[in-house]
């Protein structure tokens, strides 16, 4: 690969990505609790969602399954990525925001903004 082609490719990459951003493509989020349940069931094999704690930011959710498993969902661009969490859950509270440990460094901690009622439910799940 020649240097001019390399530079042209880099320019094209940045231009196309900037265009996608300018057009506001890829804006996603979790619509509601039912959407969170559906996403969790799609992401984790044989998972039946029972209880959903949806972050008020609509960018994350914690879903407890009928079998007791807990799945965390994090919005990742236009879509979500999920992880099954191990009990006891690791979480730190900062006001209304709960930062949930996932044990996956690259996936990172997930912030949930929860109303008091949902925060109480979270405490019972941990």
């Amino acid at each position: 690969m020649s240097i001019p082609l390399l530079i042209a490719s880099l320019v094209a990459i940045l231009a196309v990505s900037a265009l996608v951003r300018y057009l506001r493509l890829g804006e996603g989020g979790i619509r509601d609790a039912a959407d969170a349940a559906r996403i969790a069931e799609e992401q984790i094999a044989a998972f039946d969602a029972a209880t959903v704690l949806l972050s008020e930011t609509r960018t994350a959710a914690l879903v407890e399954g009928r079998d007791g498993r807990i799945v965390i969902l994090k919005c990742h661009g236009a879509h979500c990525a999920g992880r099954v969490l191990q009990r006891p859950l690791g979480a730190r509270r900062d006001g209304l925001i709960w930062r949930i440990e996932t044990g996956d460094a690259l996936y990172g901690k997930v912030a949930l903004t929860l109303a008091k009622q949902d925060a109480d439910k979270l405490l019972t799940m941990m």
Partner: protein, 316 residues
Amino acid sequence: MVPDLPNPTELAIPAFVLLILIEIAWVKSRDTRAYEPRDTLTSLALGLGSTLSGALFGGLALLLAFQVYEHRLFDIGFVWWAWPIAFLFDDFAYYWSHRLGHRVRWMWAAHVIHHSSQHYNLSTALRQTWTGFLTPGLLIGLPLFWLGFHPVMIAFCGGLNLIYQFWIHTEAVGRLPRWFEAVMNTPSHHRVHHAINPRYLDANYAGVFIIWDKMFGTFVPERDDEPIRYGIVKQLGSFNLIWAAFHEWIGIARDMWSAPGLGNKLGYLLRPPGWSHENSRETSDSIKAAWAARQAETSDARGPAPYQGGSMTPAE
């Protein structure tokens, strides 16, 4: 005499960019979630990294190919009729290399990068491996050189194969005429390949001709009643380029380090992705089996379809 052939993939770059722009215009008016800025940036940057990796390490593959070619059975040369045969044979080798790329974790480690996006658009096509030269996939094509196909001819055919595969990474094209869908790999067939829905896992490995999947039992048609979800079974949840390129290699190294016994260590390298010695993880086979069991339960719970009339009795 070896002809002076251009690199077809490099020549195709302007067309790639143009088609991506056309697809973005299409997406803007239909499904604005089909493209995402950071995902697009990651895909395109991974494509550039793959080109650089090919430039740095592709010579090793060519060197090996020439070593085998030295011991060829026939002097085929660059006669006109050898080109279509070479293209067909190269596509056949691609099918097997690709199939093993999904069924052997060592090879999956190099190929997973291509499946790591949760989007399916033309930019996804450019997410290509950085580490293919570290896998035994290249060995699958070696019999072609032994038969007498020139390495430059096969490299050129491989480039054309890759260009063909670019345009099938799109949701903008539905189904094509039946005769075309029957023989060629198409956007519909390849959407199934990128799907993580259990019914679609490990299917449609074809490069250009879908006939290989039909011949070897890996063909699954796309259904209209089940929306496709893309990506990998355990989504990355990260746009980090380095993590996308190397995460499975790191996973293999960790598993081999901690596994007891040589057999288990080799299992983490040679068995399917998701295999674990204590059976604690999910493979595509176990996911499909769990899904099939659930489907059966659901259909049992519903019971037989109610009688709708007509003359047939239950005994019939």
